[in-house]
Amino acid sequence: MLDALIERIRAAYENDSPLIIQGGGSKGFYGNADEGEVLSTRGLTGIVDYQSKELVLTARAGTPLADIEALLAEHDQMLAFEPPHFSPSPQPFPSRGEGARDALRAPKPIDATLGGSIAAGLSGPRRPYAGAARDFVLGVRIIDGRGQPLRFGGQVIKNVAGYDVSRLMVGALGTLGLITEVSLKVLPRPAEELALQFELDEATAIVKMNEWAGQPLPLSATSWHAGVLSVRLSGAAPAVRAAHTKLGGEVLKDGTAFWQRLRDHATPFFDRQPLWRLAVKSTTPPLGLGEAQWIEWGGALRWLASEHPAGMLRAAARAAGGHATLFRGEVSSPHSFPRAGAGAGANVMPDAINDGVFTPLPPAMRAVHRALKLRFDPRGILNRGRLYPDF
């Protein structure tokens, strides 16, 4: 299977024909439209190595997350970044949107794969308290845009030999290489988890989430939506009980399901489009950009179902120290928001760059991105345009 993938990429490089890398297809909606033939990693499955005592798991890219999580659960361990599945099997994934891209991304999604999760770099509710996908990646094997297999990092927790190319792959959406194998740090599952709810207005909830995160409390997730602050506590049973006593609140009976639905966007709120993801400084006061909002990550993540112009949302996110991503929905028409780095003259910036899902990069950052892309994928055959429309 690996050899076949290498051959396929080498041929694509020779013929200058772009490829769309696809795992489970659960995140086909995410990113800009790309072009090319589908290259599936679904045959590249299997957990290569798992040493629970080492807290390290290595698996091939096409391995379903569900398989990995099931094996970890047998050993009371977990992927602490809580990667979203977006298509929890066995429920069928509702088809979203229309257009050529969806048609290309057949077959229909089954479950998120490890490779896709790392390439997308998305993390779930536990992220601010346990770390992001990139924080747990120890090593990767990739095939670059010339069909060259490469191995970076390793299977040990501390490793500073060479540049951290492994983490560079996380969130690169496959534009720097096809991930074929990933080694991850895993963590013990908490003995007990408890979800609490508080009726609070948005401004108060944001302050509370930040205040509590500054105290030694066993927080593992926070959410605010429609006037309700939800908090998850994780740890040894006595620690969870003590924190409950300290914080008060109403116990949410089906807490596990609540956080899983939030992780997977399996509630009607997340069906709305366009759905924007604003990553901001956690203490940012209410953005005042509409009622249709879901806050996560201690205030650092604000989901907005909003028809506001992209430029307005990007400006709001920038003012709040962060950035805005059009998570689900059609990309806006060209020129709908100001060009980043406008006036930086010499840097040619095609209009298309402004028309994207992700916040445009300033010219110097863009130059570094393009230079890196050129080194890993000189002919731009891997997920062309998925991250930024111009590469």
Binding site: A161, V280, A364
Partner: protein, 483 residues
């Protein structure tokens, strides 16, 4: 040698006292923490603000003069070793803590701020900066980012890369890269990870936004003695398998224990291996975990287990471990500290092999081990005054690192490659990966002006050194000529 006209131009963009060329002024910068490697710099500049840093970079770029960035100079891999004909750019005077935001739990600091100074400044808010390299009293945060520094609490709290949010970094041609954000992620590639641990090869950092954590409510340490190193190693895995993630999990072998005991009288038992397991966090969590750790240690065959009953006793337990390096330093005129990381299960095998090599080389080794994260610090004892002794220690050390690679580990867990371990990079990586590293550098610094010759070996050098690691009968660089 740097042209005097260039020195004048440096003086044009910096205050007079910030440009050092006289021998007595520049000699103190001839090495970093690895003093076996020395090279007197041609010129040292000590800019006092970001604008001066950028001016120096632009000047160097225009004249194609190389730049070696240096923080506090506590590095242990000769990463900040001066390079002939290069400007040594010392960032120690950029030492302001610009802001602390207690509610958001962040601090904005300049690169010359000392690691410990961040925690001290955050202490009134009951917050601290988690990574704590043993040099934290002196090392600078800029150097920590350059090396992706760790410390004894990495298993639970991560390395530098896990504890920073944002960088202001400058390419050598004076372009600003704002990397990361005040949010928990940023658009585009994860350049924050790429720059962390890049050893001054890609860009020069002038500002860092770090995460602060609430100080744990309680910390408690358990000490366990073993009559067998393998049993101690197995106990480490058993603790983790029991679902406990200790804040610190340290191991010392007999020679290290004896040296520490003789030095600080920590009251350590007489044994083959000693484990120190620290649990921190919420009070109830600590109690529950300490109970578990006790049970696991007993079941793992510890011959003696002690829990620190007071803060005083906890500090005493740690005193021996924290003094281990200077304590070992009393056993011989010099020691050479290695920094390999191995999968923990390989520990008994690796210690046995190190013991065999120790006999073969005729050099004693004390082993200090960040057992929780597999980071091994063998300290090779030697006497630099004996002709050839340093070379012998280096050869021995190189063999230990190659052994680490052989068992699935790495040549450096937290100290960095610098110049010291550049040969072993040839054993760790094959040609395509090394080539890609050079290409990554070229994406930032095509003229190779930043810290040239460090961190990633030129391919032809790998062949010249003969630092080849044979793995499965295959040389890693079969296409290169050998002599």
């Amino acid at each position: 040698m740097i042209h005097p006209a260039f020195i004048s131009r440096l003086r044009g963009v910096l205050p007079a006292h910030a440009v050092l060329v006289d021998r007595e002024d520049v000699v103190p910068f001839e090495s970093d923490g690895l003093s076996a490697y020395r090279n007197v710099p041609d010129v040292v500049v000590l800019p006092e603000n970001e604008a001066q840093v950028v001016a120096v970079l632009q000047l160097c770029h225009a004249e194609k003069v190389a730049v070696v960035a240096r923080g506090a100079g506590t590095g242990l891999a000769a990463g900040a070793l001066p390079v002939d004909g290069a400007v040594l750019l010392v960032l120690a005077k950029l030492n302001r803590i610009k802001a602390i935001d207690p509610l958001a739990r962040t601090a904005v600091v300049e690169p010359g701020v000392r690691n410990l100074a961040i925690s001290e400044a955050a202490a009134p808010h009951n917050l601290y900066y988690a990574p704590d390299p043993s040099s934290q009293i002196a090392c600078s945060i800029g150097g920590n980012v350059a090396e992706n520094s760790g410390g004894v609490h990495c298993l639970k709290y991560g390395l530098t890369v896990h504890n920073i949010l944002k960088l202001r970094a400058w390419t050598v041609d004076g372009q600003l890269l704002e990397i990361g954000s005040e949010a928990l992620d940023a658009p585009g590639y994860d350049l924050l990870a790429l720059l962390t641990g890049s050893e001054g090869m890609l860009a020069v950092i002038t500002e860092i936004t770090v995460k602060l954590l609430p100080r744990p409510e309680r910390a408690q340490v358990v000490l366990a003695a073993f009559d067998d190193v393998a049993k101690a190693g197995a106990a480490v895995g058993n603790i983790i398998a029991a679902g406990v993630v200790p804040a610190g999990l340290e191991m010392m072998d007999r020679l290290a224990i004896q040296a520490a005991e003789a030095f600080v009288h920590a009251g350590y038992p007489d044994c083959e291996a000693l484990l120190l397991c620290e649990i921190d966090g919420v009070n109830e969590e600590v109690s529950a975990d300490i109970y578990t750790v006790h049970e696991v240690l007993e079941a793992s065959g510890a011959i003696e287990i002690r829990s620190a009953e007071s803060e005083e006793q906890r500090l005493k337990f740690w005193a021996g471990r924290k003094a281990a390096f200077p304590a070992v330093g009393r056993l011989a005129p010099d020691y050479y500290c290695m920094d390999g990381t191995i999968p923990r299960a390989q520990l008994p095998h690796v210690l046995k092999r190190i013991g065999e090599m120790s006999e073969a080389f005729g050099l004693a080794v004390a082993n200090v081990f960040h057992a929780g994260d597999g980071n091994l610090h063998p300290l090779i004892l030697y006497d630099a005054n004996q002709p050839g002794a340093l070379e012998k220690a280096e050869t021995f050390g190189g063999k230990i690192l190659e052994l680490c690679v052989e068992v699935g580990g790495t040549i450096t867990g937290e100290h960095g490659v610098g110049l010291e371990k550049i040969k072993q990079m040839c054993a760790q990586f094959a040609t395509p990966e090394l080539t890609r590293f050079h290409e990554v550098k070229a994406a930032f610094d095509p003229d190779k002006l930043l810290n040239p010759g460090k961190a990633v070996p030129e391919l032809h050098r790998c062949a010249e050194w003969g630092a080849m690691h044979v793995h499965g009968g295959q040389l890693p660089h079969p296409e290169l000529p050998r002599f």
